[in-house]
Chain length 164, copies 2
């Protein structure tokens, strides 16, 4: 199962202004009651409901998640790990990435252009945990040519609903 290009690239269908408004509202509060949402975007509850459903079905809205404080889960530190794969092992890159992605420490995984093949955003209990992860999940693999670990002092997600 490839994890690259898993989305059917559905940007062909442009969003209406109302859809944009719905998406923006749900990005800032995913639990906004449908009735309130409907009022804010100027729709009846049922019309709003079916639009939200359509947005989910179209894959515009992929899902809803709780935003959790890592520290509360016992992850006191976060790190970025840049990973370079051996040229010969590039063909197995996706599969290797998939084994990484399911690890509980991996908060995010980026596939990159440039000298590094991907970047891992890591949640860990402490610095030993980071080291263990890098040794166990990365350095021990034949495919990995190089890693570079940087500590994250602080991390913020977007505040503004993306209206470009």
């Amino acid at each position: 199962m490839s994890i690259l290009r898993q989305r059917p690239a559905e940007e062909s269908t442009q969003l209406t202004p109302t859809d944009r408004a719905i998406v923006d509202e749900l990005r800032s509060d995913g639990r906004l009651p449908n009735a309130t949402l409907a009022e804010r975007v100027g729709l009846s509850p049922s019309a709003c409901h079916s639009r939200v459903r359509a947005l989910r079905d179209r894959g515009v809205i992929r899902g809803f998640t709780a935003d959790v404080d890592p520290a509360a889960l016992g992850c006191a530190i976060q790190a970025l790990v840049f990973v370079r794969i051996h040229p010969r092992a590039r063909s197995g890159l996706e599969q290797f990435a998939e084994t990484l992605r399911v690890r509980p420490e991996v908060a995010q995984l980026y596939f990159l252009g440039g000298s590094d093949d991907f970047l891992i955003h890591l949640w860990a209990r402490d610095s030993n945990h980071v080291r263990d992860f890098v040794l166990d999940a990365l350095s021990s693999s034949q495919a990995v040519a190089h890693t570079d670990t940087k500590l994250i002092f602080d991390h913020h997600r977007a505040v503004t609903p993306t209206a470009l």
Copy 2:
């Protein structure tokens, strides 16, 4: 207003196994009905409800958001921009970061250890948009010493509820 260390570091209070279960469920589905959640974690709806409220009040759960496909919002490409600040301008780093953070293109902002001061995860319509952002928001500032932009081919968020 400082955006660094804004959280009161409330990891002193350890999570109970039930709380962990609640958090894990809500991370994989933020819109899980309270009744279903209660059943899954083995609590009555009312008890579950008050625990979720407590988790929010304690800051363990920061909020709920919709996970949206950037492409559907007209952002065809994503990029990482590494930013290095002039040593003399480091004192104003937080304030500068705050001006960045409120920009609609900024999906995430990391404060880093190492040679780069921070890292911006960018959403953009196209490569021109990336260039314009870097020129306008970064290179034009006196504080910025250096930037390095890398293209993101693909981006994945965690699949596994973090149970370390």
